[in-house]
Amino acid sequence: MVHTFEALGLKLALDTGSGALHQLDGIAFDALNPDPVERARLLSRYPEREAEAVARELDELRESGALDSPDDYDASLLSEPGTVKAMCLHAAHDCNLRCRYCFAHDGTYRDPSRARMSVEVGKAALDWLISKSGSRRALEADFFGGEPLLNLPAVKEIVAYGRERERGTGKRFSFTITTNAIGLTDGAIRFINEEMDNCVLSLDGRREVHDRMRPDAGGHGSYDRALEGALRLIEGRGGKSYYARGTFTAFNLDFTNDALALADAGFEHVSVEPVVASQDEPYALRPEHLPQILDEYDKLAEAYVRRRREGRPFSFFHFNVDLENGPCLRKRLTGCGAGNEYVAVTPEGRLYPCHQFVGRDGWEIGDATTGAFDSDMQRVFASNHVLNKPDCRACWAKYFCSGGCCANALAMNGRLDKPYELGCAMQRKRLELALAVAAIGL
């Protein structure tokens, strides 16, 4: 399968089966038109000698396996469940903000007790992860919530325990944290910058956009406090990874302005993600928004390239596709690994396939405090890879997104293997732009 497209003023062709990317001139682009009648009509406008030269180049690429290569990879490659290597630790089912779009219902996951993870449960979770990780050396634990800083003393003790367990096991924990940046004391910042390999800072961009969707419990905007804390944190980050991560909704379909607001505020690493919400919500993204969203991604990519050329670059998470050192095919087939290589842990130690599944009836996959793990459910998630998703078979992007987020698929379509269509359309657009950025070479 070959996907031809135009983005950022370039004509490009992606060979799905091999992953090869080609930049084309006008005649080569026309020569790859998928409609044979239209292709013949277009090529008739060029001198015959030119068309023959293009045909020879295309044949060379086909012979070298870089065009029209088979993408019939064998699903038996992935017949066995993987090894659990990553977890999302829900340090607190509580939050000091009341974000209107929060999928976790004010960070509580509908838990009226607003529970916080004890040190004992956190230690048991790390022990469980080590016991399940086999020969994997690199393990990941992301402190999440709610707001994990509401339980910072426990987070510190759990991290210290992880470091202790690294010695003697040969494992290496990569700790990360996702925070709203409201409770960032100097001590918290010092700890995060010393121990956390990545820090995701939730900020939505422009003040008015942020304050509209991210009020505190008293209904007051949180922008000033979040921005001040987040800027202090990145000042001491010392080159370690971080992201200022926003959410866009139907209220800010001009989200390029929010990505740029984050860059202008001083954040070099930016991510702005589409909200996933019930279609009943006024802020939900709906199919009729799609044309505007796709245009907006074009604007964002143009601004991204322009700023790089002007010497004031920022990075955008979804444009960071690494063509040469990117993931292997097996990784591309399996995706995020939810329920297979990755689990979420509630404050009580209950395990779910990922943070988005927490609290959903019927999706508990184990318990870190008892060691219980539902290997049948793990098998269900392991087999839910892109080769087994009917809607993905004919999609050119399948080896870049692995079939998308299965929690979104379940929420929107009631099943794990039917991707969320609106999310797919946005993903394809982001990928086209990411490939164009790679072709430009910035």
Partner: protein, 64 residues
């Protein structure tokens, strides 16, 4: 695209997916949802942790 050496196609990135079956699958890479998105899985922007074992990438008609 500006044509160089009368070529019409510039290969930006060579074929590598099938080759990655040979050396891939070690599993040491990051789980994609542990990064920044948490909702919109993009696997292709994760780096391979095993680069030193990868076969060299050969670019076709790279001079174009």
């Amino acid at each position: 695209m500006e044509s160089i050496n009368n070529r019409h196609i510039r290969t930006v990135n060579a074929a590598c997916l099938r080759e990655s079956l040979e050396h891939g699958g070690c599993g040491e890479c990051q789980a994609s949802c542990q990064s920044a998105c948490k909702t919109s899985c993009t696997v292709a922007n994760q780096q391979c942790k095993r680069q030193e074992r990868r076969a060299p990438v050969i670019k076709h008609n790279a001079a174009v």
